[in-house]
């Protein structure tokens, strides 16, 4: 499991050139900044189309949208073949490249247990093309392809549970984290960097433009997602050992998180109630797993 660190321990060196193509208050840009501080310069960053267009002080390897997991595989096998296994092979993808079009390649690389680190900055929609729904978009969220209308209340299915899909591959490490919890984020990147095999980290990274809130609220929105249980922070080793990393005595009502964002503002109390029920019930499950210290399916 990852080891707690303090804010003072986060490296000062900047490897992300901000802002790239980021908007004000961009959650994924902060995710990039924190992540690459820990990964360091001995890293090859792999990219697929995503938002924002990250710029890092590391060499890069571009891949087709569907082929992030393949490019990581190719680089890792080449490094193995030429004896440069010291280099970090990292994918820095969005939720589209991870949850949807890139899922097959990542699943295959996970099953082969390639020694690569997949880091997903999850902003819960296709923001690069202007906020269309992805399978990471939560229930009821409005996007340009799940708009409000007389026949639509926004997205009609919940967020795909990708970390648990990868946990089911039995990979060495899968974890979730948030830009509002930088020490948790940094600790998990450091842990993943230090172990062999396929690692995956999903970083919850709000997008003020797509989620419709003021750019100065990014951290607060991200924090509320965790505090309400809408985006729980946990880690799983070898698909078995489980640990909940943020465990308040009581969750805050999920409505606090939803009301902070324009994409959920159309929701009725009844709809909020449905989301609250889903969130509480999943949280109970996670608490049970945390108590047992292992994934219970």
């Amino acid at each position: 499991m990852s080891e707690r660190i303090t804010l003072q321990e986060i490296p000062l060196e900047e490897l992300t050139i901000v802002p790239g193509s980021a908007c004000q208050g961009c959650g994924p840009a902060l995710a990039s900044r924190l992540t690459f501080k820990v990964l360091g310069p001995n890293t090859i960053r792999h990219s697929v189309p995503c938002c924002p267009d990250a710029v890092t002080r590391t060499p890069g390897q571009g891949a087709e949208f569907e082929a992030g997991g393949n490019a990581l595989t190719g680089t890792w096998r080449a490094l193995k073949a030429i004896g440069r296994t010291d280099i970090n092979v990292v994918g820095f993808f969005g939720d589209g490249g991870t949850y949807d079009i890139g899922l097959q390649a990542l699943s295959a690389a996970a099953e082969r247990n390639e020694n690569v680190f997949v880091i997903c900055k999850d902003n819960e929609a296709y923001m690069n093309t202007g906020n269309q729904r992805s399978s990471s978009t939560p229930l009821y969220a409005l996007t340009t392809t799940t708009p409000l209308g007389i026949k639509s209340r926004g997205k009609d299915t919940p967020k795909k549970n990708v970390p648990m899909i990868f946990a089911a591959h039995g990979i060495p490490y899968v974890a979730t984290t948030s830009i509002a919890f930088p020490t948790d984020l940094v600790a998990k990147v450091a842990y993943g960097k230090g172990i062999q095999g396929f690692k995956m980290l999903i970083i919850h990274a709000p997008c003020p433009t797509g989620w419709r809130f003021e750019p100065n609220m990014t951290i607060q929105v991200a924090r509320l997602a965790v505090q309400t249980g809408a985006f729980p922070l946990y880690e799983i080793i070898n698909g078995q050992k489980f640990k909940l990393n943020y465990k308040p005595k009581e969750l805050r009502p999920v409505g606090e998180y939803l009301k902070a964002q324009g994409r959920f503002r159309h929701m009725t109390d009844a709809e909020t109630g449905i989301v609250q029920q889903m969130t509480t019930s999943y949280w109970q499950k996670l608490l049970k797993m945390d108590e047992a210290g292992e994934v219970l399916f």
């Binding site: 990219s47 390897q61 891949a63 082929a67 393949n70 595989t73 190719g74 280099i87």
Partner: protein, 399 residues
């Protein structure tokens, strides 16, 4: 020097082994499948010191070798028919990235399980060099030549090596296996240009949305790439000559091979295994005092324009046998030859024959008929049509 009797797919795997390939990736598909098995066994036995990646599909295999080649490992990929089509997207990235990957395409047509050239022909616009070879010895030799050509600093382009499925892939022929020492002298180790490995103390930066954006001159990138493909012709010839000097075998001039064209009034043009069968037909025709030669079209992309212009000045008719059909436009070879010869002031007649599509058998007698018609056209006799489907309705194996 060792001789063995082996099927085309084994010859291909031997070419990969002798070329000291470091990363291989493939997804099994008939009739390419056994290459994956031979390579896996070579790796399992320690005879290839490299990585074989069992990928989840052909698109994946191409994306894998694109990355491994860029990271500094000589890489190989192979496919067939539908797999070749599925692989299309990252093929553009491999060639745009000027990565000298070598790929074997074991032909399987787009309308059947049987061979024709439509799988690789469908990739005409991907910026890959395309070779079509005729026997198992040429398969093995061409893998080695392909790496030598592709990795040449004047070329730096991927090469697809097409050979007919079943007819070669699963048919055994005697093949000479070159000495590893000779191959090592011929083919130096691969070096990625530029290297993408992190350099301590050297500032590096990457921006990235999957390598899109096209750089500062995205339109110029098309021109540069196009010119690189066209200009590879001289290197293909050079490598073919050098291979001939080192190993005692070469394949025409690398682009085309002329067979009994001296004094010929007409030539037929054929690719792959049909070129092999055509040699027997040409011998028969000369025995009957019919002066028809054969052009084996080996390099299809870049098209050997200059060679055909020179042939066009020497003969009165050219009959192209296309084992493909570019639907709505016609045979790819036929179109290219007509295009190439248009500017000659005294043009020969150019005839087109569709043959061997979906694995239809093309016999010596069939080729003799096509050559006869071409000779008639050369002598100014009236012919019914410029383009024909002479073997229409024949099923593979039927009399």
């Amino acid at each position: 020097m060792v001789f063995d009797v082996m099927v085309g797919n084994k010859a291909c795997a031997w070419g990969v082994k002798l070329s000291r390939v470091k990363v291989m990736s493939a997804f099994p598909v008939t009739p390419q499948t056994t290459i994956t098995e031979y390579l896996s066994q070579f790796v399992a036995d320690g005879e290839i010191d490299g990585e074989f990646v069992n990928a989840e599909g052909e698109l994946a295999t191409q994306a894998i070798v694109k990355a491994s080649e860029r990271a500094g490992a000589r890489s190989f990929v192979c496919c067939s028919g539908p797999g070749q089509l599925y692989m299309h997207h990252p093929m553009h990235g491999t060639s745009s990235g000027r990565l000298p990957v070598v790929m074997a395409t074991v032909h399987r047509g787009n309308k059947s399980m049987q061979p024709d050239h439509t799988d690789l022909m469908s990739q005409m616009w991907t910026g890959w060099i395309q070779w079509y070879v005729e026997n198992n010895q040429e398969v093995l030799d061409s893998v080695i030549m392909a790496y030598k050509t592709a990795e040449d600093k004047r070329v730096r382009l991927p090469i697809a090596l097409g050979y007919d499925g079943y007819i070669l892939s699963y048919t055994a022929e005697p093949v000479e296996i070159p000495d590893q020492k000779d191959v090592d002298e011929f083919l130096p180790p691969y070096e990625a240009i530029p290297s993408i490995l992190p350099q301590p103390g050297v500032p590096q930066a990457s921006r990235g949305m999957g390598g899109m954006g096209g750089g500062r001159d995205p339109q110029g990138a098309w021109k540069t790439h196009h010119e690189a493909v066209v200009n590879s012709k001289s290197v293909i010839k050079e490598v073919n000559d050098a291979f001939g000097k080192k190993f005692g075998r070469k394949y025409g001039n690398g682009l085309i091979e002329e067979y009994r064209t001296e004094g010929a009034e007409a030539v037929i043009v054929a690719m792959g295994t049909i070129a092999s069968t055509s040699k027997a037909a040409i011998d028969k025709l000369w025995d009957e005092h019919k002066p028809v030669g054969l052009i084996k079209l080996r390099t299809f992309v870049p098209f050997p324009t200059e060679d055909f212009q020179s042939i066009g000045k020497r003969v009165h008719a050219i009959g192209m046998i296309d084992r493909n059909c570019c639907l709505g436009l016609g045979g790819a070879g036929f179109q290219n030859i007509r295009d190439t010869l248009y500017d000659l002031s005294d043009r020969p007649k150019i005839l087109g024959f569709y043959a061997g599509l979906s694995g239809a058998e093309v016999r010596v007698a069939d080729i003799v008929k096509m050559a006869d018609k071409t000779l008639k056209a050369a002598r100014g006799e009236k012919i019914d049509s410029i383009i024909e489907w002479p073997l229409l309705g024949t099923v593979s194996g039927e009399e």
